[in-house]
Symmetry: C2
Subunit: 344 residues, 2 copies
């Protein structure tokens, strides 16, 4: 393993993305999110993603110079057209408006349209909790998941994230896929020739399977939590798809046309301002929330982001460790003159 300080990791990622041809804004927002992923121990959303982003740009799957367009859609809605770029710069462009609208109205929504999406949602809900707001975020993906009882993949892995600001503590944040497991988990087992537990997927005939190959060969993944998880995933299709005038996971997969690219769709973010929901001092109510959350760990329960925050604290002191081979690939990409794109 190779150890890198967070600053060195930033420089490495930012240099590769800039050389590849991403604009300054995309470089900055991509680097923030990629390094935050590695820092928090989410390696699947960490430095490895730099390779994917550079590849997506090279193969024309994403616009590296897309400038998000912000629309004041309604008194409590900001809409941001990502114009075919990654979602992150669009999120950043809309964020000040979302915060202002939430503080003014009590609740507000941000709809991001036409974005290429690869990132976790927790960095975004953390931006809202940093502002003292409650945040929710969700998006469709590619249709790999069958609804409960069905034989056909109609739903995406549709992540759902939530953040609650805590006084003097990291926020209460969760961010989970509504599929039973991540797509990558099934792919890993398939490559290793291993079986998977029941409940992860079905074969082409709609029967439960423990063979990851059967899921890829015309089968489907399943949602978490049976019909309840399936309902939640369907809700995400609707509110982060047609509600905001953007694609469902089925449409995103069709749009990809078998190219294996990142999903292309929209994202819905809600922000709620606790100081507007009650008259008077919100502090005693925040304290009652603390009393509930503080009871979790002593009772044996884990708080959802506990492991991430522990990794974050560690990474801030020790930096991050990445596999030697990944480091070599990143350095080769950084130093490859063929990867340098002249700004057009």
């Amino acid at each position: 393993m190779i150890q890198l300080s967070l600053a060195d990791a930033r420089t490495l990622v930012a240099t590769i993305l800039a050389n590849a041809g991403f604009s300054e804004g995309h470089v900055r927002t991509l680097t923030d999110t990629i390094v935050a992923g590695e820092r928090d121990g989410c390696t699947s959303h960490g430095l490895y993603r730099t390779l994917v982003c550079a590849h997506s740009l090279r193969t024309g799957k994403v616009d590296g110079n897309a400038l998000p367009r912000v629309h004041d859609q309604a008194p409590a809605i900001v809409r941001v057209d990502a114009c075919g770029g990654y979602s992150l710069l669009a999120f950043e462009a809309g964020l000040p408006h979302l915060i202002e609208k939430a503080r003014h109205n009590g609740i507000a929504a941000m709809a991001i349209n036409h974005c290429v999406h690869f990132s976790a949602l927790w960095p975004e809900v953390e931006r809202l909790t940093d502002a003292g707001l409650v945040g929710l975020a969700c998006n469709p993906s590619h249709a790999w998941v069958a609804p409960s009882g069905g034989r056909v993949p109609l739903l995406g892995t549709n992540p759902f994230a939530f953040g609650w600001p805590r006084p003097d503590k990291p926020p209460y944040v969760f961010d989970f896929a509504t599929s039973a497991v991540a797509r990558g988990e099934i792919e890993l087992r398939r490559r290793a020739g291993e079986s998977i537990p029941e409940g992860w997927g079905i074969d082409a005939a709609g029967n439960a399977t423990t063979d990851p190959q059967a899921i890829v060969d015309g089968g489907a993944m399943l949602t978490f939590g049976d019909h309840k998880g399936s309902a939640l995933s369907t809700m995400i299709e609707l509110i982060a798809g047609p509600l905001i005038g953007d694609l469902t996971s089925l449409e995103s997969l069709r749009h990809d046309g078998g190219a294996g690219g990142s999903p292309y769709h929209g994202e819905l973010v809600l922000a709620l301002d606790p100081s507007r929901f009650i008259s008077g001092d919100p502090a005693p109510h925040a304290a009652r929330a603390e009393a509930l959350l503080d009871a979790f760990v002593p009772s044996g329960a884990r708080l959802p982001s506990q492991r991430r925050y522990e990794a974050r604290a560690r990474s801030r002191v020790e930096g991050v460790r990445i596999p030697e081979q990944l480091h070599a690939e990143l350095v080769a990409l950084r130093d490859d003159p063929a990867m340098r794109v002249m700004p057009g």
Copy 2:
């Protein structure tokens, strides 16, 4: 079984509730919801609830004359103080304001405070879909459920409901408890001396149990969907509790003090207006949602409210059938002069 037309069922329920001492508004909103439950085949929220409501009033657990107070809390928030009455009249009092705010701002919230709560949430999200809006609703309950990995009940059965309007069809609606099963399901098995499947609850030591008695004796129920369902239930505690200045499930149970009454807490309802989220005609986007939902049944999947809508169509023609003993109890209550409360 005794067969009753929907009109006769309404008259029976309304007469009992009026005799018991509920005000006209509470009689009307309670009757609507109780008869709708029976009509849709949800017997646990059906005519049997009339007995529970009358008993709760007699024992002072609910204020039958409470007049909800509506506050224009923020541009996109209406707050309704139920003042110790049932939630339903408060919901009705706030609904026109919620609809108006959602249509004006694109998204709006209704916070209901200090309500006694027994009802399902689907009748409420259906009121929003009737108005062409997307609705979400949730509330805490009593703390009977342990968070994932924990040994102590810190969460309620915390229902979550969602509604999506469909052109020329009943809306897409789900309404589920975030507990693995309803509390009543465990109670039924306990009384029958039957065991329960693994995953429903734990004993006092925090170990998985199939003995319903062990759950009652210091154990706890579990959420659906392991840590993901647990996270969702925690979110509901926070946004339908401290966010709106109202009790958590732990606090609701403490407030009950062992009396076995209905939970007393708040409720959060969100409304989103599809016509405000996009510029131009929303119809093509609604049609894309239809394409997704129309693919469910042919693929073998069920739409969440399918069974309810089938029961509704049947009940509208045939009326409802209730057990003879329940009917006898209701008639006895209706005809009992001791149950008649003089308006104070």
